[in-house]
């Protein structure tokens, strides 16, 4: 049954999903763009953000504190991960980086399963955003509407950090040529640590913000990781605007295809990714020839 209200509501749903994917993907792409590390533990960071926030919520019953706790915990975890493990892999082959981050992701998931079991955990949305909103053309969960706004603010904050601060300038310069930045007397490795922390925090923040929408299980990051990679490839590896564009495109493809035939949602997503790879191998907003 295809009707205008249904189409519009699915487009809106795609926007909500896309915004979330954009935020998670931006973390992944910043880390890759700056450090050259494809972090396969990124989905697990998303999941841990949710669980850390859940624990904080259990103690404080405050959603705001849960979001802060979830984000900061994953940022610290990211920094720790970078200092203890990842930095030893900067000059190792990509396959080593993939394997070590993949392994870390599995360890994180199993650790969470050990502590919390496989039963799903609920984090209710804040009272302000509970219920359903009548948008005139459709009814939509209020919290999902709020998520679009919250994610937009978070992406705006990331944009300011990357494009309006000295740190952001160094990061962007590091993406282009880290050797040159290093020779200018800037401690690239300290910057790398901060970048890993910020990238991880984006995933953790998304994890706890998304928790009331999906409920938490240890495996929640697995599917997101796959979608996130597709987003990064579509948008262009290492491109922050690309992550946002890719996220929105992926969200709309999944949502609109689901209206016609849900079974083909992922097929269409991967078809779109393949098309982009054929036409623009470096992604829609990726920089051609970037190392």
């Amino acid at each position: 049954m295809i009707s205008w209200p249904n189409l519009v509501s699915q487009l809106f749903n795609g926007l909500a999903l896309g915004a979330l994917l954009a935020l998670i993907s931006s973390g992944l792409t910043i880390i890759y763009g700056t450090l050259g590390v494809l972090n396969l533990a990124h989905g697990a960071m998303f999941m841990i953000g949710g669980y850390a926030g859940f624990v904080a919520y259990q103690y404080t019953e405050s959603f705001v504190l849960a979001v802060i706790a979830g984000s900061l915990f994953v940022m610290l975890l990211g920094v720790l991960m970078e200092r203890v493990i990842i930095r030893h892999f900067y000059h190792r082959p990509h396959e080593d980086q993939l394997l070590v981050t993949f392994g870390l992701g599995i360890c994180f998931v199993e650790l969470v399963r050990l502590i919390f079991s496989s039963q799903s955990q609920l984090v209710p949305p804040p009272a302000l955003f509970q219920g359903i909103t009548n948008l005139g053309f459709m009814f939509y969960p209020t919290y999902r509407l709020a998520v679009v706004g919250i994610v937009a603010i978070a992406l705006g904050a990331l944009f300011i950090i990357l494009y309006r601060t000295r740190l952001g300038m160094i990061v962007r310069a590091g993406i282009e040529d880290s050797v040159m930045v290093d020779s200018l007397g800037i401690n690239v490795y300290r910057v790398f640590m901060v970048v890993f922390g910020i990238g991880a925090m984006a995933a953790g923040f998304a994890g706890i913000v998304n928790a009331p929408v999906v409920s938490l299980t240890p495996g929640i990051g697995d599917d997101i990781l796959v979608q996130t990679f597709v987003v990064v490839v579509i948008g262009g590896v290492g491109s922050f605007p690309g992550a946002i564009l890719g996220g929105l495109i992926a969200g709309e493809i999944i949502s609109v295809t689901s209206m016609f035939n849900p079974g083909y949602a992922y097929v269409m997503l991967f078809a779109a990714m393949t098309l982009v790879l054929v036409v623009r191998p470096h992604g829609l907003l990726g920089v051609q020839g970037r190392e």
């Binding site: 509501s9 998931v109 799903s120 409920s215 240890p218 849900p262």
Partner: protein
């Protein structure tokens, strides 16, 4: 006899071994009967010592992990009870003293992640390396169907775990496979009349269906049954197993104009889709029915099953009607600290029945054990007397209809459901060949 053996394809080496065995057997009259049997599958190699090995594959990760863990606990309790000759096991399998036929049961556990290929690989390993005499698994009918085929090929008994698809003992049935829990069709036949009585005739239904054998057969069964009461399907949203988000499907449901949402999803998929149905206001617009109840869904959805009808294999409060259920609940809760859900009950009873059949056959020899099942005798279970149909190896057992309790009526934190009806299995079951069951050979 020699010609006969050779005609059956026995090798010269095998013939010599068999002959030696037969001579040895005649010299040792006290040896158990199975020493004289022809080797088949992992028999008699798997039971030549003092133990017998069982291969268990349950999902411990993925969307069915919670149910898989519950199922595993049921298996473990059954093995513990069989090995110790517990009173409850004796009620189901009176000849069991310690172990099965005096053999202590050992087991290995593999995580199937509800994926058929992973379950088959694990069980293949248990059969070849541990000489598993029986294998089990499920919690996904796709896994059950795959293990059916493996069991038939390897001539090792498959005692099915959780599997609600019509195909399991229908078109994909095998001689070496047995199932204790009921068909999706049986669930539909049990809950359908309750739905018609509760909601009326000529209603519009929307379905959420997981995209594999279980989902399709349960949805089809519900559609077929409800069509007889003039119900129509306004939308059937088919989602992949483990879908991360149901919002797109639910928007289609919300815009479908349905009166009732029939959620066929299972495991975490059911929990997530039900929670999101609430978020999208779907549950305010239409009634929810879960035709094949999902263990733990009431607690995981935080009360969204209140007033919702579901068909289930077991709910612990039936203990006031069935003494064996009471014994099981007490033993299970003592060991694991919570009331068992139907995955655990299903697992426990499946193993208890297998032990009974082996004891009755007096042997682990698969064809003999199969024939013991195929006698179709009435035997005890936790939900009263049941029997296995010889034609399709399906257990004929009651279906329990439950309705979610309102929070104010809950007597304790696990008192989630009222038992509305216990519907006898005989009247619900389709004919054994209705889904095209043609079991294979004994050897």
């Amino acid at each position: 006899m020699t010609d006969d053996l050779i005609r059956r394809g026995l090798s010269r080496r095998g013939l010599l071994q068999t002959t030696a065995g037969l001579i040895g057997g005649s010299m040792l009259p006290a040896m158990p009967a199975f020493a004289e049997d022809k080797p088949i599958g992992s028999y008699p190699a798997g039971v030549s010592g003092s133990t017998a090995f069982i291969g268990i594959s349950v999902p411990r990760t993925g969307t069915y992990a919670v149910q898989g863990e519950d199922e595993l606990k049921g298996y473990q309790l059954a093995i513990e009870h069989i090995n110790s000759g517990h009173d409850l096991i004796k009620k189901i399998s009176p000849k069991t003293s310690k172990g099965v036929l005096g053999k202590e049961l050992k087991f290995g556990v593999a995580d199937s992640a509800a994926k058929p290929n992973e379950a088959v690989q694990a069980q293949q390993r248990f059969i070849s390396e541990n000489k598993a005499i029986m294998i089990t698994g499920g919690t996904s009918s796709a896994v059950a169907v795959a293990l059916n085929k493996l069991a038939q090929r390897e001539h090792v008994l498959f005692v099915c775990g959780i599997s609600g698809s019509n195909d399991t003992t229908g078109k994909d049935c095998v001689r070496y496979g047995f199932r204790q829990n009921f068909f999706g069709q049986t669930a539909a036949a049990a809950i359908g009349p309750v739905m018609v009585r509760e909601f009326g005739k000529g209603k519009k239904a929307a379905y959420l269906t997981p995209d594999y054998t279980y989902g399709h057969t349960v949805t089809k069964s519900m559609q077929d049954f409800l069509a007889t009461a003039g119900w129509t399907t306004v939308t059937n949203q088919v989602a992949p197993l483990g879908a991360p988000d149901y919002s797109s499907y639910l928007l289609n449901v919300a815009n479908s104009g349905a009166d009732v949402l029939i959620n066929v999803n299972w495991g975490h998929d059911a929990v997530l889709s039900t929670q999101q149905a609430k978020q999208f206001g779907v549950l305010d617009k239409m009634k929810l029915v879960v035709p094949y109840q999902v263990p733990f869904i009431a607690r995981e959805t935080g009360g969204l099953m209140q007033g919702v009808y579901a068909a289930t294999d077991y709910w612990w409060t039936i203990e006031d009607k069935f003494p064996l259920a009471k014994m099981f609940n007490e033993a299970f809760e003592k060991k694991y600290g919570y009331k068992p859900e139907w995955g655990a009950e299903n697992a426990y009873v499946s193993f208890a029945h297998w032990a009974r059949m082996c004891e009755q056959a007096g042997s682990f020899n698969p064809p003999d054990v199969i024939k013991a099942y195929e006698k179709g005798e009435t035997i005890p279970s936790l939900v009263g007397d049941v029997h296995y149909r010889p034609e399709d190896h399906q257990c004929v057992r009651p279906v329990i209809i439950v309705k979610g309790k309102q929070q104010k009526d809950m007597k304790n934190k696990e008192d989630w459901y009222d038992v509305v009806e216990i519907v006898k299995g005989e009247g619900l079951m389709q004919k054994p060949d209705a889904f095209g069951c043609h079991p294979g050979d004994y050897s």
